[in-house]
Subunit: 429 residues, 2 copies
Amino acid sequence: MNEIESLARFAKTASRRLAVLPTDVKRRALGAAADRIEADADAILKANAADRADAKELAGPLRERLKLDREKLAGMAAGIRAVAALEDPVGRLLSRTLLDDGLRLDKVSCPLGVLAVIFESRPDAVTQISSLALMSGNALILKGGREAARSTAALVASLSKAFEGFPGIPADALAIVTDRAHVDALLALDAFVDLVIPRGSNDLVRYIQGHTKIPVMGHADGVCHVYVDVAADTRMAVDIVADSKLQYPAACNAVETVLVHGRAAPRILPPLVARLREAGTEIRACARTRALLPDLVPATEDDWGAEYLAPVVAVKMVDSLDEAIEHVNRYGSSHTDAIVTDDAAAAERFLSEVDSAGVYHNASTRFADGFRYGFGAEVGISTSKLHARGPVGLEGLVSYKYKLYGEGQLVASYSGPGARPFRHEKIPS
Amino acid sequence: MNEIESLARFAKTASRRLAVLPTDVKRRALGAAADRIEADADAILKANAADRADAKELAGPLRERLKLDREKLAGMAAGIRAVAALEDPVGRLLSRTLLDDGLRLDKVSCPLGVLAVIFESRPDAVTQISSLALMSGNALILKGGREAARSTAALVASLSKAFEGFPGIPADALAIVTDRAHVDALLALDAFVDLVIPRGSNDLVRYIQGHTKIPVMGHADGVCHVYVDVAADTRMAVDIVADSKLQYPAACNAVETVLVHGRAAPRILPPLVARLREAGTEIRACARTRALLPDLVPATEDDWGAEYLAPVVAVKMVDSLDEAIEHVNRYGSSHTDAIVTDDAAAAERFLSEVDSAGVYHNASTRFADGFRYGFGAEVGISTSKLHARGPVGLEGLVSYKYKLYGEGQLVASYSGPGARPFRHEKIPS
């Protein structure tokens, strides 16, 4: 048994205790963790400074994400307290059925067990993920980036110290590994790890999806569309596309392809293109769009389905709502897609027939976010259709079990000739 | 593009239409399908006779499962009508949140898309699966056993003929393949197939789980336990173990290992063993059990975790509730496990800490079944923790999407200095 396997085995054992942790203990433990992060600020910032001193070769944005300061630490502590204030997702009675007199079936939410979260150079992810894991009653194995190893270790040490005061929280409930080689070891442990959550680049997500039998929550691509319908208001269309692209171009919910109905194109495209260009956006256009606006860069087949994560957008003219829906379903990534139109029937068809986690009418794709949806915390955004889909809050970290309470009932009594009938009476829960 | 890929691509396109099929159309189409199965009885039974004539070398139980007769066909038609009477799982409003004035977020249930169901020599599975798929708005690719090829083709022909009368149901909504080689082709089509459901032997399930990136619903093993606690009523314990083992030993929810508290063993084991032996059950016992009842067969380490699917049961003495819970979590398959006890606190600990889809107090493990749970129909039993867990009814064949209805709202308005706050007002749905 290698080191990672024994870590995961201990985490699994710890998860049984976390599963039955009362809500108030979880809340108090998270409060203690937030206090401890603030009390340990000097040590954490010192560890972070050492990480950054060794990371001078990192690209600007990565180095920026690595950086902690007092303000960020205060925000992290506030984030822990915000998670502690959320409704406990564990132990909720989801349904209750009286199968027969004295035979009651309860469907009850329960934790998944052991989460493995693999993230890159963002030490602030440590407190966010750890608090979500504890609140949802799950044990957690963190695999952080090597470049943030000391920051991550300092944060985990603070959290572990805080949790020590709570006898219901075993020391094995929170573990950290930093060696790149440990990723593959972790991904092989489907006997102990219940869910893998990759937080990082598309390449990281794709690698993990391709190398494990453990369910993976997340998304590799965010190829979002805005379709500007023939019945779209010009100004609204321009504003929504601009917000969807420019508000944060590197986000997974930023628009990558804009579809414009051919009959709306002459009035929509000139102000839209002007607005995007003004903001420095590169536009790659289909042949018909270029017939209208010849100085645009031609799009190639590769542009449909491309995730630029940058101020670049593809534009394509379509002849119908059907063609728009088909394009989105074919080239999209089932993340978030919007229609701009004043035609409610067209909107409802788009929302029903586009097969994406988020389908929007007259709103920016950038709303696809757990905080904006009102979840209070976000685990990530899932484009899988099983279990959690779209922005995922705490409820994405729980499952359910059926608890059957009997008085000695046997199936033989309900079978064959003279079988007793079931009552199957739903009891409001 | 191979034949199976084009089939799956067409099924995906068909699934968009099925997703918006009104409930009453689905109900009428299923009614027509039930009528058609009855009207085509002669042709179906003729095809079945031909299959059986070629299947003389099949083992008895397999040949029995292959057999159709008028009574079975009537039952199949009744099954289709029962599915038609179930609540439509599609289009249910799961939650509604007012994010802000004029910005409404609806969480709505929707079909998964394309199901691939791989089953062995049970032609009656065709009507059951097809009706569940249609009612849940999913396209379906069936892979039946070669030995049932003609029966399956005749049944699918009848269903397709019935569905032809409904313009909203494309011909590609229901497809069948029978060639063994097509299984691997299907399993590779994660771009088009949303869920694979294997219905057959454990080997089939394991093969499929190991050879696809598509989510698989089902379970390979059913290693169920009954733990007889120190505070168990003797007669209830004997009855529950006997029912759990003997009521249908080949079922996945039959008990395989009985754990008995050491202090209860002297009063429980003699009548329990007598009862099981009387019914011809082979008992494999741990050393301590054999110290009490020396003529039992010794169990080996392989017996813990074995799924006999036969009148064989392993018996082990444990010293505590904790040891019982640990044994179940270690050797079980997270399917269904029961405790027999008059101690409510011990029961609640077992139900909370055993990590299985079904955890029972004073009831037979054989209750783990969609019909007994009151679902009206069963897709299968899942031991996965993500998405559907335990016996799965129609709701296991749907996902959800978020529909956001706006009036041109931009994320920029809710960001940065002077950001507008969200309302996040839950509206009872």
